[in-house]
């Protein structure tokens, strides 16, 4: 309170007057349910911005401190709109899944999308996945036969030498190359909708660069899953190791199993 002497009595009087004012207030529960009804109605045709921007630019932290979001939507071009719809569908799926358990409700604080990968970042480390499942339609192929089964140009990281084995999954949507000690390179079409999801707790993803390309280093082990494109079904795959993700020439890359960010970046820059 203001303590300038001559005003003390008047200030006290104003405080008392404030308490005596008659402010019409509807029952709080009614206000709460009215607000909820409006939010539910909106959720059907607009994305849920409480989860932040669903664009390709990922921030290293789940919240950008001091950021001012004026909530205005971007100019609504047709492509944009279609994309928002896809994003909305994905978000609703995520909400449906995470809302199923009390732990799930508290778990996801932010969803970030980058390089065809959806990062579900939470305050706590998610419980590890103990099972291992293959991607839909995953099958081994001879390295020289890969190109014929895939729509995008397949590359490899020369720094690791020839892969031990190569698989193609989901009708040529994903190519995976394997080296000893759990090192693998996944590459997939850089379309807008995410293909893979990762559930993350602390430590947060760390910014990195692969040559001229933005990348993110996910330092900890984390649950990994696959989003089936047509119907949005999610397939939990396995507990993944530290991973570097980046996008290059409209193809998404995920390099897993190298111990440090520096080593992963070094290997990633040998992509050709």
């Amino acid at each position: 309170m203001n303590s300038r002497e001559p005003f003390d009595d008047l200030e006290a009087e104003l405080l008392a007057l404030g308490d005596l004012l008659d402010v019409p207030t509807p029952p709080p529960a009614d206000v709460a349910s009215a607000v909820r009804a409006r939010l539910e109605a909106e959720a059907h045709d607009t994305p849920d911005p409480a989860h932040g921007p669903f664009d390709a630019s990922v921030r290293p932290h789940p919240r950008a401190p001091g950021r001012r979001d004026d909530g205005r939507r971007p100019p609504a071009g047709r492509g944009r709109r279609a994309r928002w719809k896809i994003v909305t569908a994905v978000v609703l799926v995520v909400i449906a899944i995470t809302a199923a358990t009390p732990q799930g409700r508290a778990a996801v604080v932010r969803i970030l999308r980058f390089a065809g990968i959806e990062l579900r970042v939470g305050e706590t480390t998610p419980p590890p996945v103990t099972t291992t499942a293959p991607m839909p339609g995953e099958h081994t192929v001879q390295p020289d036969k890969v190109s014929g089964q895939v729509k995008f140009q397949v590359k490899t990281v020369k720094a690791l030498g020839d892969p031990k084995s190569v698989t193609v999954a989901d009708n040529g949507r994903v190519v995976s190359m394997f080296w000893p000690d759990g090192v693998r390179l996944d590459q997939f079409d850089g379309s807008l909708d995410p293909v893979i999801f990762k559930k993350l707790g602390p430590p947060w993803p760390d910014y990195a660069r692969v040559g001229l390309h933005e990348a993110w280093w996910i330092p900890g082990k984390h649950p990994l899953g696959y989003i089936v494109r047509q119907d949005g079904t999610e397939v939990p795959l396995r507990q993944a190791g530290p991973t570097l993700i980046w996008q290059q020439d409209a193809v998404n890359y995920r390099l897993e199993g190298l111990r440090t960010k520096e080593e992963a970046v070094r290997v990633a820059t040998s992509l050709q």
Binding site: M1, N2, R4, P6, F7, D9, L10, E11, E13, L14, L15, L17, G18, L20, L21, D22, V23, P24, T25, P26, P28, A29, V31, A32, S33, A34, V35, R36, R38, L39, E40, E42, D48, P49, A50, H51, G52, R63, P65, G66, R67, R68, D69, G71, V94, I95, T98, A99, G104, R105, A106, A107, V108, V109, R110, E123
Partner: protein
């Protein structure tokens, strides 16, 4: 469930958690909207403010208190409303029934007190916009100078000077009768 838990759950899409948060701050939000001039439309303003707050929740700094952040949105909505109506916001509040029974043992004294309160409220109503808003936030809503600055989106210095000028004007009008 404290504010932070409610916010975290709301961010995860849990509307029940947000409902709890709305219920918690509903009365204060109505009070703020009414006192800043929303009048009969306080209910609409408050609903709209809570819907907007949910949309902007991701931009809320979690290390900061929720209350002034929310009231800032309420104040903005109120301001938008009064501006769209193209007129000065008004303090349309009445003194509650309890005002006249404050001192039941002393009917005469109570009447004097009630009369004085009415005149003080009338004087607050007549204050220029800025001074009235500062006085309302600081005394009727009992916000600190820093909170007032955040809610009204003014520098703290402006809050101080507007409050000071408002108090001086009130004192000029009714202060001479202070016991």
């Amino acid at each position: 469930m404290n504010d932070d838990e409610a916010i975290e759950r709301s961010l995860a899409g849990d509307l029940a958690a947000y409902e709890a948060l709305v219920a918690r701050y509903s009365a204060l939000a109505h009070r703020t909207a009414s006192m800043l001039g929303a009048g009969d439309e306080a209910e609409d303003v408050v609903q709209e403010a809570f819907v907007k707050a949910f949309r902007h929740l991701a931009s809320f700094r979690r290390d900061a208190p929720f209350r002034p952040w929310l009231l800032r949105i309420v104040a903005n909505e109120t301001h938008n409303l009064t501006r769209s109506r193209g007129r000065r916001s008004e303090l349309t509040l009445r003194l509650g029934a309890t005002a006249s029974v404050a001192a039941p043992d002393d009917p005469e004294g109570a009447a004097v007190a009630t009369d004085r309160r009415s005149r003080l409220l009338e004087a607050v109503r007549r204050l220029p916009d800025r001074e009235r808003q500062a006085v309302v936030c600081r005394y009727f809503l009992q916000l600190s100078e820093a909170e007032t600055a955040q809610v009204l989106d003014w520098p703290v210095g402006t809050v101080k000077s507007s409050t000071h000028r408002g108090l001086a004007r009130l004192r000029e009008e009714v202060g001479n009768e202070l016991a």
